[in-house]
C-alpha cells in the first residue's frame, strides 16, 4: 500500500453525479488530482515522475481489442483496405453512445460488437439478431466486459474525441518511446519524402 490516495476511491466519489459528457470532465479532474497526488510521494522516493492516468485501463482496452487496427492509434480511422473506419477525433458521439457502439457494433458497417450475447440475450438498438438481419454487425475477436467498455469510452472521450491532428506527444503517450513509429511526428513532415502533393493546386 502506498502513501497516496486510492485512485478508484476518488473516482467513486465523482461517479454518482456523473452522467454522459459530464463524466469526461470528472475523469479529467480526477486525472489531474491523481497525477498531482502521485507526483509528490514518487519524487520523494527518487523515482522519475511518471504520470498515472486513470484512462490507462481504457488505453489498454483500445490496444487489446484492436480498436487501433481500424481506427488507428490516433483514432482518425479513415479509408483503406478494411473500409472506412469512423474518425473518433471528429466524432460527435457522447460517451454513452460510444459505449453502446462498442458493445453493439454498427449495423451494416465493419464495426463489430464487443458485448457477449449482443442481439441474442442483450438487445441492441432495440433489435435482436432476426431484426438486424443482413445488417447484423460482425462479432469482434475479443469480448469486453461492461467496465472495459466504459473504460475505453472514457479513453476515447479524454484522449481522442475533439482533438486536432495527431502529434508526437500523443503518439509517444500511446506507444511509448521504444519504437520509431512516432518519428514522423517529430518534425512537420511532407506527405511523402518523394513527393510534394499540392493541396491548393487545380483539381
Amino acid at each position: 500500500m502506498g502513501p497516496w490516495p486510492d485512485p478508484p476511491a476518488l473516482l467513486k466519489q465523482e461517479k454518482p453525479m456523473t452522467k454522459g459528457i459530464l463524466s469526461s470532465v470528472a475523469v479529467l479532474i480526477a486525472a489531474s488530482v491523481v497525477a498531482a497526488a502521485l507526483s509528490a510521494p514518487r519524487a520523494a522516493f527518487g523515482q522519475s515522475a511518471t504520470t498515472s492516468d486513470p484512462t490507462d485501463a481504457g488505453k489498454a482496452v483500445f490496444k487489446r481489442a484492436n480498436c487501433f487496427g481500424c481506427h488507428k492509434w490516433h483514432g482518425n480511422g479513415g479509408g483503406g483496405y478494411g473500409g472506412d473506419a469512423l474518425s473518433l477525433r471528429k466524432t460527435e458521439l457522447t460517451r454513452e453512445q460510444i459505449a453502446e457502439t462498442v458493445g453493439c457494433g454498427r449495423p451494416g458497417t465493419g464495426m463489430p460488437f464487443f458485448t457477449r450475447g449482443a442481439y441474442d440475450t442483450v438487445k441492441c438498438y432495440d433489435m435482436n439478431r432476426q431484426d438486424a438481419g443482413s445488417q447484423m454487425p460482425l462479432e469482434a475477436n475479443t469480448f469486453l466486459r461492461p467496465n472495459d467498455i466504459e473504460a475505453v469510452a472514457d479513453y476515447v472521450i479524454v484522449h481522442i474525441k475533439g482533438k486536432g491532428e495527431p502529434n508526437y506527444v500523443d503518439c509517444v503517450s500511446f506507444f511509448g518511446d521504444t519504437s520509431r513509429v512516432c518519428d514522423i511526428y517529430k518534425t512537420q513532415v511532407e506527405p511523402t519524402a518523394n513527393s510534394t502533393p499540392s493541396a491548393g493546386k487545380a483539381q
Binding site: 506507444f175 514522423i184 518523394n194
Partner: protein, 595 residues
C-alpha cells in the same frame, strides 16, 4: 585469457543471436569452400539437385526439382518426418498476429527459414531430424513496420551468398548473417517505413548484389527495385517504378497532382534473372490510389507491368503493362517464369510467363518484351471481354482515353461507386508462386477463384499522408471465394487441367517430375499427379497453409518441407469470403515429410 575471450565472444553472440543451448558453444566453424555460395553455383543451382539455393529454386523461377524418389507411385506413403515450432506469431501495428509465407532454403543438409517478423532460423536436417542450430532475431520494430504493412506480418525467406545468409525485415533492413554462428555481419536500411515502405519479399542474389523489392502502394509510396553490393554494402542502383519528370513514361501520368511521386508500383515479390542477357525480370504492383483511377489519368507506367532491368545498371530494357490505368488493384507483382519452348519452324521461344491478379496468364518474349499469348486461367472474368490477340491489351483498352473503363458496367469508378469485379482484387493469382515442369511443358498456377465488391472513395491530394492508407476505396467480401490449381500447356497457351479446391490457393506450387505439391489455407498439404492433377496424397497440418512447398535431399533421402501458419492479408481483409477459415488458429510450424 582464453576463457575471457570466449566469454566476450559469447556475450557478443548472445547480443546478436540466440545460440541454442543444445548445440552449446563450440565456436564458429571455419567455412568450407564447398559451402561458399558463389554466382557460379547459383547459375548452376539445378545441378545441385538435393539443394534449394534460390528463393524460386533457380534464376528462371521454375520451382521444379528433379528429385523423384518421392513419386506418384509411392507418394501415398509420405509421412511426417519431423516438425519444428517457430516463433514470430505475435502481432504489431494493425496486425493481431504474424504468419508464415516463406520458402525454406536448403544447402548441404542445412535449412534456413524465416518467420513473419524476419527472424532467421538455421536448422540441421541431417539424420532424419531437425535440430535448431541458431536463430537470428533482427528485433523488427513491430509498431513502426506493422502499422504500414498493408497485407500482413510476412517474410518470404532468405538468400545465400558467400558465407552469409541474406534476409530482409519488415522495417526495411537488409541483413547479412554469418552462416556458421548466426551473428549479424552487417545490416543496411534499404526501405523506410516513415514513408510507408516495408519489405516482405526474399532477396534475389545476382552476381555480387542483393536485389530488394518494396511494398507500400497502399500507403502512397513511389515503388523501386534496389541493388546492394554485398561486398561493399553500398547501393549499386535503385530503379523507380514510377518515372520522374523528364523520364520515359512520366507522360503516362496525365494529372497535375504529382501523383507520379506517390503512384505506388510496389515490387514485393522476388523476381527472376536471365544470365544470357544479364536481365532481371521483376513484377510491379498496382497504382495508387488503388480504386480511384480518375485521380491518375493516363496509363500509369510502370504499374501493373513486368519490367526487364539491366542487372548491372538497373536500366529498364523493356516493360509489358497488363492493366493500364488500373481501377481494380490488379497488381502484376507476380514472378516471371523464364522458359524456352519450341516455336514455329524450328525456332525457340524464349518466354517470360506471368499469371496476373487480373485473371490472365501471359507469355511475353523475354528478349523484346512483346506479347506472345495470353488466356484467362480463372473460371470467371467480368472486367474485360478478353485480350487483343495482337497486343495482349484488354480489348476495351482505348489509348486515346485518359481514364479507362474497360467493361464499364462492372468497373468501379466515381460514378459507379459500388461495383462487383471478377476476379476480386486478390486475384486471380497473388504472390504464391507458380511452378513449371520443363519435361511436360506444363505451368501450374495457384489460383484464387474469386469475385469481390469494390467501394470507391474519391481521392483528393489532402488525403495523401505519410503512413496513412491511400487506396481510394476498399474491398468487401459478399461472395464465397474458392480456388484451384490450374495447369497451362506452354507449347499451346491453353489450359490443360484444373483441380478445383474448396479454398483459395494462398501457398503456391512445387513441381517434381511426376508430381505437383500444394496446400490449402484450411490445413491440407497435397500431392497431385503432374499430368492429370488427380490427388495422390493429402495430409492435414491442422494449421493454415500460406506458404509454398519445397523439396531437398540429405543423407541420400528426399524430403518435402513447408511452413504452416495462416497470416497475410487473407485472414484480416478477406476472411468473410471464406467464413470457415475463421476457425484456423494463428500458428508457426515447419513440417517436413519423407517416405
Amino acid at each position: 585469457m582464453k576463457r575471457f575471450k570466449k566469454h566476450r565472444l559469447l556475450m557478443r553472440t548472445s547480443m546478436l543471436a540466440t545460440v541454442v543451448a543444445a548445440v552449446g558453444f563450440a565456436g564458429p566453424l571455419p567455412a568450407r569452400a564447398a559451402d561458399e555460395v558463389t554466382h557460379d553455383r547459383l547459375l548452376n543451382a539445378d545441378k545441385e539437385p538435393g539443394n534449394w539455393l534460390l528463393h524460386h529454386k533457380n534464376f528462371s523461377a521454375t520451382r521444379f526439382s528433379s528429385l523423384k524418389d518421392i513419386n506418384k507411385d509411392n507418394v501415398k506413403n509420405l509421412k511426417v518426418a519431423w516438425t519444428m515450432q517457430l516463433g514470430g506469431v505475435e502481432g504489431g501495428g494493425i496486425w493481431t498476429h504474424g504468419g508464415l509465407e516463406g520458402t525454406p532454403i536448403v544447402e548441404n543438409g542445412f535449412m534456413y527459414v524465416t518467420d513473419g517478423w524476419g527472424s532467421v532460423y538455421k536448422i540441421d536436417a541431417h539424420g532424419g531430424q531437425g535440430t535448431l542450430l541458431w536463430k537470428m532475431d533482427p528485433k523488427t520494430d513491430h509498431d513502426w513496420a506493422g502499422a504500414v504493412a498493408c497485407c500482413g506480418v510476412d517474410n518470404r525467406g532468405v538468400a545465400l551468398w558467400g558465407n552469409l545468409v541474406i534476409s530482409h525485415t519488415l522495417d526495411g533492413r537488409l541483413i547479412a548473417t554469418n552462416k556458421d554462428n548466426g551473428q549479424v555481419a552487417w545490416q543496411r536500411p534499404v526501405a523506410n517505413p516513415d514513408k510507408g515502405e516495408v519489405i516482405t519479399g526474399a532477396p534475389l542474389i545476382v552476381k555480387n548484389m542483393a536485389i530488394t523489392g518494396v511494398a507500400g502502394a497502399e500507403y502512397g509510396i513511389r515503388g523501386w527495385v534496389a541493388a546492394t553490393d554485398l561486398a561493399t554494402q553500398k547501393e549499386v542502383w535503385r530503379t523507380f517504378t514510377i518515372p520522374g519528370k523528364g523520364e520515359p513514361g512520366n507522360d503516362t501520368w496525365k494529372d497535375d497532382k504529382n501523383a507520379a511521386a506517390s503512384g505506388g508500383g510496389s515490387t514485393w515479390v522476388t523476381g527472376s534473372y536471365d544470365p544470357a542477357t544479364d536481365t532481371i525480370i521483376w513484377g510491379v504492383g498496382n497504382p495508387g490510389p488503388d480504386w480511384d483511377n480518375q485521380y491518375r489519368p493516363g496509363d500509369n507506367l510502370y504499374t501493373d507491368s513486368s519490367l526487364a532491368l539491366d542487372a548491372s545498371t538497373g536500366k529498364i530494357k523493356w516493360h509489358y503493362q497488363h492493366t493500364p490505368n488500373d481501377p481494380y488493384d490488379y497488381d502484376s507483382v507476380a514472378e516471371n517464369v523464364l522458359v524456352d519452348v519450341p516455336g514455329p519452324s524450328g525456332t525457340t521461344l524464349k518466354l517470360a510467363l506471368e499469371a496476373d491478379r487480373n485473371g490472365f496468364a501471359y507469355a511475353i518474349d523475354r528478349t523484346t518484351g512483346k506479347f506472345v499469348w495470353g488466356l484467362p486461367f480463372v473460371k470467371k472474368v467480368t472486367w474485360t471481354k478478353g485480350l487483343d490477340p495482337e497486343s495482349g491489351k484488354p480489348i476495351e483498352y482505348d489509348p486515346s482515353k485518359q481514364v479507362q473503363r474497360y467493361n464499364a458496367s462492372v468497373t468501379p469508378h466515381r460514378d459507379n461507386k459500388v461495383a462487383d469485379i471478377c476476379p476480386g482484387n486478390m486475384g486471380g493469382k497473388n504472390w504464391p508462386p507458380t511452378a513449371y515442369n520443363p519435361d511436360l511443358k506444363l505451368w501450374y498456377i495457384p489460383v484464387i477463384e474469386s469475385c469481390n465488391r469494390i467501394t470507391v472513395e474519391e481521392s483528393v491530394p489532402d488525403k495523401l499522408k505519410a503512413r496513412e492508407f491511400w487506396t481510394g476505396g476498399g474491398p468487401s467480401q459478399p461472395f464465397k471465394i474458392t480456388g484451384s490449381v490450374t495447369a497451362i500447356d506452354v507449347t499451346t497457351g491453353k489450359v490443360a487441367g484444373k483441380l478445383e479446391t474448396p479454398y483459395p490457393n494462398l501457398g503456391g506450387i512445387l513441381a517434381t517430375p511426376d508430381l505437383v505439391f500444394s496446400g490449402q489455407p484450411s490445413g491440407e498439404v497435397m500431392a497431385l499427379d503432374a499430368k492429370t492433377l488427380e490427388k495422390r496424397w493429402e495430409f492435414n497440418t491442422g494449421g493454415g497453409v500460406n506458404a509454398p512447398p519445397m523439396t531437398f535431399s540429405v543423407d541420400g533421402k528426399q524430403y518435402i518441407a513447408i511452413l504452416v501458419g495462416l497470416g497475410g492479408a487473407w485472414d484480416k481483409w478477406f476472411i468473410d469470403a471464406t467464413p470457415e477459415l475463421k476457425r484456423i488458429q494463428p500458428g508457426s510450424m515447419l513440417y517436413v515429410f519423407a517416405l
